[in-house]
């Protein structure tokens, strides 16, 4: 359709512009990497489903959910840490750390994120186990796929898709629990009292999980995800990848052939097990490729075959291209941990750790009180009938702790100046006022500062101090305007 070819010569075969997906029926395999994959799946799913239910006591003025993204009140709670919107740099810092962490992980162990921890991988793996549970292993699934639609096939398909749907619903349902009190929201959700956005979110995430995990699967990695593209630029001959040692395996030949002519054949017996177990349906023997998420199931498969036929393991293995070359040249194999000595790894680690330490430092030293003052621009000053000069200010006081706190505001810099706020009689104006700021709240005060006749323009400083054991303070300097001396 988009081909620039003007006219196809009649004898040329018709070019295929759109290809049907080749379904993947991966065979069951057991081995150390498969068991590690199980472990990661259990841990990641447990973290995802359990986290919203963890409680954390923050006293009577704050929610008791350990991890809560409270969009309505614009607060982010994570165990003992509470983040306000103006402290969003903590979240930004964490996201940058997550990004650089991916780089770091790629630099150390290649596409391990893709192979083990990526949600697309975890849920696809889960759904493939359901396929196996309902329809049987590779061959049975292949047969069922080829079989015409009949009552048996329809029943199985409906059953399988129903299970997909239940898992998808649980996935989407757990997501919203991070944004509101989990037990309350769960009750409201089934009582029909939850916010419309909650139902919409669950519906969208249920659909995406069902569709991406149940049907799109490896196509997400191959066609949609930007990360494999970025990784293509990040992998080099020093990167740890899952690779087939062709110098050892080629030329391929069956065990029988190899027995007859041992010198003519390599270790690969062309049994196809590495292809059969692959969840993305690729042939690792063609070399590393975008479809390879380095889940290492082919290593498990190949190692088992090698063991059965009495050849050394590791025909397919985690290795760097550089080491492969060295091994092929007859040098002893390099231990895998040696890849850590890659300078790029150290640079990524330094950046990653540097951001982490900076965030920890900022977290440890941040103040939980804050004052900001904005002077009225129109009118800039006000002459009163007794000749004194008044300036208006909007004062914002923040109490970021989960308890009400008494604070003292004092003005300095203008001799004889007094202040009052619009919630008190102006006869009580003084150079210092006290206010109790509600727990976890911002208080807006409309403040007036009045200075005696003849005061010149200058700067006024508002000093805030918390009247508790912490004695935190903050200050804000701004202008005090007065008429020019006549």
């Amino acid at each position: 359709m988009n081909s620039p070819e003007p006219i196809q010569p009649p004898e040329a075969p018709q070019a295929v512009l759109y290809a049907k997906r080749e379904p993947v029926f991966n065979r069951r395999i057991d081995g150390p990497f498969r068991r590690f994959k199980w472990f990661v799946m259990v841990v990641t799913l447990a973290v995802y489903y359990v986290t919203p239910w963890l409680r954390w006591d923050r006293g009577p003025y704050a929610p008791d959910q350990a991890v809560l993204i409270d969009l309505a009140h614009r607060r982010f709670y994570m165990f003992g840490i509470e983040i306000w919107p103006h402290e969003f740099y903590f979240v930004a810092g964490l996201l940058i750390m997550a990004g650089i962490g991916l780089f770091l992980l790629t630099s150390v162990v290649g596409r391990a994120w893709c192979g083990y921890a990526c949600p697309q991988t975890v849920w696809t793996d889960l759904f493939q186990h359901i396929d196996r549970f309902i329809d049987g292993d590779r061959n049975a699934r292949f047969r069922l796929h080829k079989a015409p639609w009949g009552p048996a096939k329809i029943t199985r398909r409906l059953l399988k898709w129903s299970i997909y749907l239940v898992i998808s619903f649980l996935t989407g349902g757990a997501w919203i629990l991070y944004f509101a009190d989990a037990p309350t929201l769960l009750r409201d959700f089934f009582a029909g009292d939850a916010a419309g956005v909650a139902y919409a979110t669950v519906a969208v995430l249920t659909f995406t999980t069902f569709w991406l995990g149940g049907f799109m699967r490896e196509q997400v990695c191959i066609y949609m995800c930007p990360w494999p593209r970025i990784q293509t630029a990040m992998l080099d001959e020093k990167s740890l990848i899952v690779t087939y040692k062709d110098w050892r395996g080629e030329p391929r030949g069956s065990v029988k052939k190899a027995e007859k002519e041992p010198d003519k054949f390599g270790d690969c017996i062309d049994c196809g097990q590495c292809v059969a177990v692959c969840p993305t349906g690729i042939d690792i023997r063609e070399g590393t490729q975008i479809g390879c998420i380095t889940c290492a199931l082919c290593i498990d498969a190949c190692d088992r075959v090698m063991k059965d036929i009495g050849r050394p393991r590791g025909l397919i293995d985690y290795a760097t291209l550089e080491d492969c070359k060295a091994e092929a040249a007859g040098k002893p194999p390099v231990p895998v941990w040696q890849t850590l000595r890659h300078p790029r790894t150290m640079v990524y680690f330094a950046i990653w750790a540097g951001i982490g330490l900076a965030l920890l430092f900022a977290l440890g030293t941040r103040s939980r009180t804050d004052i900001s003052v904005a002077q009225d621009r129109n009118p800039p000053f006000m002459l009163m009938s007794d000749g004194s000069v008044r300036n208006g200010y909007t004062v914002k006081l923040r109490n970021m702790e989960s308890r009400p706190r008494q604070m003292e505001i004092a003005i300095a810099g203008i001799p004889g100046a007094r202040m009052w706020t619009d919630d008190m009689p102006h006869q009580n104006a003084a150079s210092t006022i006290r206010r109790t700021i509600a727990a976890d709240a911002v208080e807006n005060l409309r403040a007036y500062v009045i200075a005696p006749r003849g005061t010149a323009s200058g700067h006024v400083t508002f000093n805030l101090r918390s009247l508790d054991e912490k004695g935190e303070s903050d200050s804000s300097e701004t202008r005090f305007e007065a008429p020019e001396a006549q």
Binding site: A15, Y18, R21, D376, L383, S385, G387
Partner: protein, 306 residues
Amino acid sequence: MADKRIDSETGVETVGHEWDGIEELNNPLPRWWLWTFYACIAFAIGYVVVYPAIPLLDKGTEGIWGWTSRGQLAAEMKKEEDRKAPILAALAARPVEELPRDAELMRTAVAGGRAAFKVNCVQCHGAGAAGSKGFPNLNDDDWLWGGDLKSIETTLIHGIRQPGDDQTRFSQMPAFGRDGILDSTQIQYLVSHVRSISGQEQTGPSAQRGSTIFAEQCASCHGPDGKGNRAFGAPDLTDAIWLYGGSRADITQTITNSRFGVMPAWGQKLDAGTIKMLAAYVHSLGGGEDFVEAAAQPAAEVNEQP
């Protein structure tokens, strides 16, 4: 041209083009991609059918859902009006001097007044209500006709010197010079006196002579000590605030030709709720006075010439 071959490195067929040795592999798109493309086309058709989309000569197509941006605006405005209706009703029902007892209603009134002020009042009083020469500053503590909520409301409803409103704020200062009541020397004595009682000049012989004239001509409205009288809107002449300027030239001008400002009677144009909101806003600007029963009597009865 169509020199298709199997690429030896990848095992993929080429599309058959070659540009200076560069060839293109034929990796077909997944078929669902094509379906996505068709789905987008279907969506676009649906969009064109239900929403206004195609411009015609006089107007565009309307779409079967009948949505328009104007209609959406009208609906949102209606919603806002509906939201405000009970607040305005509550405001209309409550005497303005009792507003401070309901802090929530007062806050709402101040906020609403701020918006109404921007529409109706800033033309004379300025966006910050700081006024200018001849237009009073509403932020300060100096009030011609009273600065409590009730007085401000009365001024707003009936205006100042508005013909046709028998309760309008009214008074008239004589043009002492122009009408020949005082000669220019006497006026200069008077200027000296006025400037001395406001602390702008030392009291000299000129001011002492002016003091006698003041007692005869001015004290009836401005008071014997020059502190003014709100019943007549007569300003306090001893304070630091001068609506028309406090220099010798300005005061001479004022006494010679007299001064008086006007303000529309907003009661004819705005509803009672909006006027209360405006009163609350003006009162909140920093110079508002407390309402006391004695000050409640509007000075409207005093509309004969003093």
